[in-house]
């Protein structure tokens, strides 16, 4: 790793961005003949909001799936906290403190909002099967402590009123919020959000933007997010990676990316040669 990774700096709005916490190096991912990701490298710094943008099918979700261990790239490495990450199952990645939401909501439909959010705290649950079977002492204390933490997140995301509602009965916008709550419950060091605002109306988008900024600000959580709404991306993010047809075509601050010719072409639909 070079020296760059240890530089930290302060943003205009007074947040501290630390060194590189995650680095993707020369990642290539193929599905049969389809190259979803082609030799892409980029990094994510501690405490920043990092956006990944690009047209449909660019390979953005695939990139998040590589980070969360769901897809194994044919080439390239993932470095986490300065160390090369060995091949890992998704649950092991989660236990390292990387939480995420999905483009198509993936909540547990048969459970209440509270139970869904509580599942997010598996990482913090330590008591064994026997202790739980007897439900005395440690298991109960742990359940109560975790419930308190979860209630703070429920308050934070303003979903107290639907706490006991089965998730299957919620409207789309609230489901997205519950999914964010579940990811936050894990107290992740990196939070991956796959189109957290897709399909929302303006008001819901504003709420969600506020929550994302607050999470980053109050908990210092590093966030990598995919988003199509350019206004939102430019407002929220510190740095942006632009993908098109599996390739990286831009990387930098929102202003840099906005003025990048390749990016403008991709978004205006200039023909590829």
């Amino acid at each position: 790793m070079n020296d760059m990774t240890h530089d930290s700096y302060t943003t205009e709005d007074g947040r501290t961005i630390g060194g590189v916490v995650m680095e993707m190096k020369n990642i290539t991912l193929r599905f049969g003949g389809v190259v979803a990701i082609e030799n892409i490298s980029f990094d994510i710094r501690e405490g920043e909001i990092r956006a990944i943008i690009g047209p449909n099918g660019a390979g953005k979700s695939s990139m998040l799936n590589v980070i969360s261990g769901f897809y194994v790239p044919q080439e390239g490495d993932v470095f986490y906290k300065g160390q090369k990450r060995p091949p890992m199952r998704p649950y092991q990645v989660a236990q390292q403190g990387i939480a995420r939401t999905f483009q198509n909501i993936a909540l547990f439909e048969g459970m209440s909002v509270l139970d869904n959010v509580m599942t997010g705290r598996l990482r913090q649950m330590k008591s064994g099967l026997l202790a739980q079977a007897l439900w005395k002492g440690k298991a109960e204390a742990e359940e109560v402590a975790n419930r308190e933490a979860v209630e703070r997140i429920i308050d934070f995301l303003e979903i107290q009123h639907i706490r006991k509602t089965p998730v299957s009965r919620l409207p789309y916008g609230l489901k997205k919020r519950v999914e964010l709550a579940r990811a936050l419950a894990a107290e992740p060091s990196i939070l991956l959000l796959d189109e957290p605002m897709a399909g929302m109306n303006v008001e819901e988008k504003e709420d969600m933007s506020r929550f994302i900024l607050d999470v980053n600000d109050e908990f210092g959580t590093t966030i990598a997010l995919i988003e199509h709404d350019m206004g939102v991306v430019m407002d929220l993010s510190d740095r942006v990676v632009v993908m098109d047809y599996g390739k990286k075509i831009g990387d930098g601050t929102p202003d840099e990316v906005r003025n990048n010719q390749a990016v403008i072409d991709a978004y205006l639909g200039v023909a590829h040669d």
């Binding site: 969360s68 769901f70 199952r89 998704p90 649950y91 989660a94 236990q95 939480a99 995420r100 999905f102 993936a106 909540l107 547990f108 439909e109 048969g110 459970m111 139970d115 509580m118 599942t119 997010g120 598996l122 990482r123 649950m125 008591s127 099967l129 739980q132 079977a133 007897l134 439900w135 298991a139 109960e140 742990e142 359940e143 109560v144 419930r147 308190e148 209630e151 579940r182 990811a183 894990a186």
Partner: protein
Amino acid sequence: MFYREAGDFKTTYAADSQTFPIKFDRFRYYAVSFVAFLIIPFVINDYWVNAIFLPFLIYSIAAIGLNILVGYCGQVSLGTGGFMAVGAYGCYKLMTAFPEVSIFFHVLLAGGITSIVCVLFGLPSLRIKGFYLAVATLAAQFFLVWLFNRVPWFYNYSASGQINAPERTVFGIEVTGPNTEAWATYLFCLVFLTICALIARNLTRGTQGRTWMAIRDMDIAAEIIGVNPLKAKISAFAVSGFFVGVSGALFFSVYLGAVEVGEVFGINKSFLVLFMIIIGGLGSIFGSFAGAAFLVLLPVLLKNVLVGMLGWPTDLAAHLEFLIIGGLIITFLIAEPHGLAQLWRVAKEKLRLWPFPH
């Protein structure tokens, strides 16, 4: 208005996650326990204990076990009969090999053995799901019955190929063998059911239950939030196997006393317990009780009313029973997958508002 949660505020999270969060439910639970432990033993007789109470208690344990696997963790199993047989034969071997040890521990150990066997047959669940898993457990069912039939060591080389429960006592009171008293066998099984139900309830309302349900509802998402699918599924098979094993041990030693494996623990048993949880309610402890009660009572009721009172021929009544069960299964599967337990919840919700529906 008789049944309500208003005015019953929880001031701690512990109180909110207790087994019966509503006072009225808690009261009913104490009342049921009181009747079950302190009244029924004094009035019970041989007919009631054999026709209704023992089968109900023992099937309830099996239903809870299967419900953990199917209803909570979403792993289908058609091997319940075979796993009950493991409990029965495990108990028999332990009873005859260690006559000085209390039968109480034999039953528990039989549950432990079944738990291990169940885990072994559950390993394919890591690769296969749904229909294919059902077929794999069906194979377990047939294999286990075949094994207990074919290997004489399991039935201690008895000429009949059957296993017979020797006389055993608890605190000097006989609970197995031909000379048992109704109240003693009843209480013995009731103690096991109580233990199993409490354990199941504790497991399902906490982390473990949420882990199982996460796997059931969406295994990919579960894995991405940190659930180890191997551990989650294996633990469901283990816990489920323990309960089913205990029920098999009791079914053999306390209830029947003598068992021919193909007859008692055949594929019919697997379906019977599965029907119990479908009718009672998947993913509900209460539903396991309700389903067991329903399928134990239905034939007794039909027999008494149709054959006893109306004078129908026995086989006609038996066929009607098939029709009713079949119809109910289809109805519940299509209309109300959460079974009687859900109907009960809906009724409670209505009661909560009654008499002011808005």
